[in-house]
């Protein structure tokens, strides 16, 4: 990509990427470390919680994405700067009107059952499989007005209007390419083939003992000669976080991902010489955590009250003392790894005095106990650290006279209450999927106020914000999009519809002998065809 604007896709009909590029890059990197890739070895790692099925699209939960991304592949991969790299598509071109995307596919790719991979598999995966199953993919692929198959290994998509982040949807985590010969014309969710996934990836499914392990083996017919290097990948199901820590520490597993290891256990691994702790690799998702505020309620719908809450909370303390530097303080509604993040955006600074002034100005006077207002906070039931966050928030808000009562429930109950708007405050974290139009707008635009989780459940509505997000969505010019998103960030920070807290980094901990683990903006969701154990 040669575009001057960083993080934006190329303009004009640039034919980009060459089939051998990723392989060479990997070898170069390996040689730079003085190690040539070595064949052999079994990588034992973990998966929490256990996925229900291993077919991407049928299920898109975190652990499914982590493990099934070794079985299936996407058309493209994305660097830590979210630039596209070739995978099943070896090159791609965008037409001058930015509506037609033409992709040249890798030849000689085989499915794990030996059948050849063709453009029809790509058409089917996008237009039928994910269109029917996956809500996010549906939202974007509905913009496709026309698909043309130009021979076995060439396909083009024409959009009804320009959509600049379109290519991001071709990552395996958004749109895994699935075999048309197995799924076409079937009930996708209930297809018996879901028990034994068939992909094009470097590892094929061997065995899954529920509650115990998932076992993948090297696919000998993989399209990159000589790869993958590992013989097997075994995902062990270890439900308890302390047991996971001990399993990693004793070498029984060699890799942890996402939130396998509790933040408070990470510093210990950082001091051990045989482990590497990597904090990159989640740029595509850029999980941003916030306090969600139900704006249908009195007091909470007043932006001054929300601003006061933001002033009362020390985001740096949360990142350093609760997350032990496995999180960064948030600085904007668009996370710093996401495209079009405004580096000059500033959230209200930690200043309890300013909070008190705002509350005074609202006429919320303290009662004899020093309480100005009482709210309920529904804790996020995703583990120990989120409980600690709730307790910190209760304390911090009490300092400025806001009394917080904590409410607890389990994951199922939490989602239900969030979706039904049955909360006052709750904590949430949401993926941004690389581009504000894909993962940020949904939280704030008023057309997305729905009784469904991860929509605009807080009920925030600002016509100007709607207009800006709308304009940015179809604006083809990256520079103009950047300007629109800059304005959105300023507007959102002025309104404080949510109290943004931290960006989660989800550190990956791995055995030092394991090489090439984190190279992409999707980190542990890479297909691992270049991962190997150094001697």
């Amino acid at each position: 990509m040669t575009d001057a604007h960083s993080g934006a896709f190329g303009r004009r009909s640039l034919l980009v990427g060459a089939a051998a590029a990723p392989v060479l890059m990997t070898l170069d990197q390996a040689r730079a470390q003085g190690v040539t890739p070595r064949r052999g070895g079994t990588l034992t790692t973990m998966l929490t919680p256990e996925p229900p099925v291993l077919v991407l699209g049928v299920n898109n939960q975190g652990p499914t994405l982590v493990s099934a991304s070794k079985i299936y592949q996407g058309l493209l991969r994305f660097s830590t700067k979210l630039e596209p790299l070739p995978e099943l598509a070896r090159s791609w071109a965008v037409s001058d009107d930015r509506r037609t995307y033409t992709l040249e596919l890798q030849p000689n790719v085989k499915w794990h059952d030996g059948r050849p991979f063709t453009a029809e598999d790509v058409r089917f995966s996008i237009m039928e499989f994910h269109m029917q199953l996956a809500p996010r993919a549906r939202g974007v692929f509905q913009r496709i007005a026309d698909v043309k198959i130009n021979g076995e290994h060439n396909i083009s998509f024409t959009l009804n209007a320009p959509f600049e982040p379109f290519l991001l949807m071709f990552d395996v985590t958004n749109c895994a390419i699935v075999p048309a010969h197995i799924y076409k014309g079937t009930d996708f969710r209930n297809n018996p083939a879901n028990a034994r996934p068939i992909g094009t990836g470097p590892f094929q499914f061997v065995e899954w003992q529920r509650g115990n392990f998932v076992r993948l083996r090297r696919f000998d017919g993989y399209w990159k000669p000589g790869q993958p290097y590992l013989d097997e990948i075994i995902y062990r199901i270890i439900p308890d976080s302390q047991s996971r820590r001990l399993a990693l520490q004793t070498g029984q597993v060699q890799l942890s991902q996402a939130n396998d290891i509790e933040p408070f256990d990470i510093p210990q691994f950082e001091t051990m010489p045989n482990f590497q702790v990597v904090k990159a690799g989640w740029e595509m998702f850029a999980p941003l955590s916030w306090i969600e505020v139900n704006q249908r309620l009195d007091v909470l719908k007043d932006a001054r009250f929300r601003r006061a809450m933001a002033h009362a909370i020390d985001r740096t303390f949360i990142a350093q003392r609760l997350w032990f530097n496995t999180a960064r303080p948030a600085t904007s509604p668009i996370a710093s790894g996401t495209r079009y993040h405004d580096p000059n955006a500033r959230l209200p600074e930690f200043n309890p005095r300013a909070a008190i002034e705002l509350l005074d100005a609202m006429g919320l006077r303290p009662n004899p106990q020093g309480i100005r207002h009482s709210v309920k906070l529904l804790s996020l039931p995703y583990g120990e650290v989120w409980m600690r966050l709730s307790e910190y928030l209760r304390q911090a808000l009490r300092q400025v006279g806001i009394e917080v009562t904590l409410e607890t429930t389990d994951a199922g109950g939490w989602v239900r209450r969030l979706a039904n708007w049955e909360y006052e405050l709750t904590v949430n974290f949401v993926y941004q999927y690389g581009d504000p139009s894909l993962g940020v707008a949904r939280t704030y635009i008023s057309s997305n106020i729905q009784k469904i989780p991860f929509t605009n459940t807080s009920g925030y509505s600002n016509p100007e914000v709607d207009r800006l997000f709308d304009a940015a969505q179809t604006e083809p010019e990256p520079a103009k999009r950047a300007e629109l998103f800059k304005q959105v960030q300023a507007k959102l920070i002025a309104d404080m519809p949510l109290i943004w807290l931290i960006e989660l980094l989800f550190p990956t901990v791995h055995d030092r002998r394991l090489r090439n683990v984190i190279q992409l903006g999707t980190g542990v969701h890479a297909c691992f065809d270049d991962v190997f154990f150094a001697a």
Partner: protein, 327 residues
């Protein structure tokens, strides 16, 4: 007792048991639905994205779009034909899921049960014979300690000592995945993995049996027939075995019967700490995921086990104490 009388007893008890199990099934069905959230909302939450069509698709797939009484009727009809239903979340029949996980739990809890009852009774007897002396105090203190310590903490401590420091035993799992061991080597491998979880689970119950056996032994030892045996010059060992212990065992058996009924469901914590692929965790995960079919299936299994072991316990009373008759 006559064979005919025993058969009549068994038939009557089995009919009662079937009614109890059926009532439990219906009750559980209703109880589960009182928990907030449903499988579709859990999946939407875990996927981090959803729209109305997605939710409707999932609810239709799970059969949740039908009225509740219809769902209940379908389920009860299934149970009556021993069909426990289908887990749409896991894309597998519930019976297969349970069957896959049951052996692991039975092995773990069975070994822990035998360890607890044999070691517990032995310690209880030893303590009773040296009542008031240092041995007695030591056993009582140790038993109380294990009884009072949280089970997951004991587990983690054992892992720390035997896996992390001494590196003798694996810290989790049921066998070495990827080693592809067979026959004796496989059994040995499972045995190594079994030691820590079964001791952890057993220690808690061991404490109960030790205390129960000790108290019961002391009570029986004071009775007239024991004094008579002493007066007759019966050897001490034989008095303990034949006179005291046999009579002191009744409360132990009562408790063992209760515990045996919990063999299927009582090991969730240990299964979690040691990543043991058993049925307790299947149930716990199903609860978090609102996988109703699996949860009801596990409840059904545990209910059957409890009823069955109650029956066996009642029969055992008659064997151990001739004064007790089945009726």
């Amino acid at each position: 007792m006559g064979a005919g009388r025993l058969l009549r007893f068994l038939a009557r008890r089995l009919v009662k048991a079937a009614i109890v199990v059926l009532a439990i099934v219906v009750f559980q069905f209703v109880l589960i639905r009182l928990a907030p959230g449903d499988p579709a909302s859990v999946i939407a939450g875990q996927s981090g994205a959803a729209d109305a069509e997605f939710m409707a698709q999932l609810r239709a797939q799970f059969g949740l779009d039908r009225p509740l009484h219809e769902q209940l009727w379908i389920y009860v009809k299934g149970v009556l034909t021993l069909d426990l239903g289908f887990s749409h979340r896991q894309q597998a029949p519930v019976a297969a899921l349970i069957w896959e996980r049951l052996p692991a739990t039975l092995l773990l809890t069975g070994v822990a049960f035998l360890f607890a009852i044999s070691a517990g009774v032995a310690l209880g007897v030893a303590a009773a014979r040296r009542v008031g002396r240092p041995t007695d105090s030591l056993i009582t203190v140790v038993a109380l300690t294990f009884y009072a310590t949280p089970i997951f903490w004991v587990g983690l401590l054992l892992v720390l000592v035997f896996s992390v420091w001494l590196e003798w035993l694996p810290s989790f799992g049921m066998y070495s995945v990827g080693a592809d061991l067979t026959g004796f080597a496989h059994a040995f491998d499972v045995g190594r993995h079994l030691i820590l979880p079964s001791i952890t689970l057993g220690l808690f119950f061991l404490a109960i049996y030790a205390r129960l056996a000790r108290a019961s032994m002391l009570e029986v030892a004071d009775q007239d027939f024991v004094r008579t045996a002493h007066a007759k010059g019966v050897p001490e060992g034989r008095i303990i075995r034949a006179h005291v212990l046999r009579n002191a065992l009744l409360p132990v058996i009562t408790f063992a019967g209760i515990q045996a009924g919990q063999l299927v469901g009582g090991s969730i914590l240990v299964e979690t700490v040691f990543a043991w692929p058993g049925i307790g965790r299947l149930a716990f995960d199903a609860l978090l995921q609102r996988d109703y079919a699996v949860l009801l299936g596990v409840f059904f299994c545990t209910a059957v086990m409890v009823v069955l072991f109650n029956l066996i316990t009642d029969l055992l009373y008659a064997v151990i104490d001739p004064r007790v008759e089945v009726a």
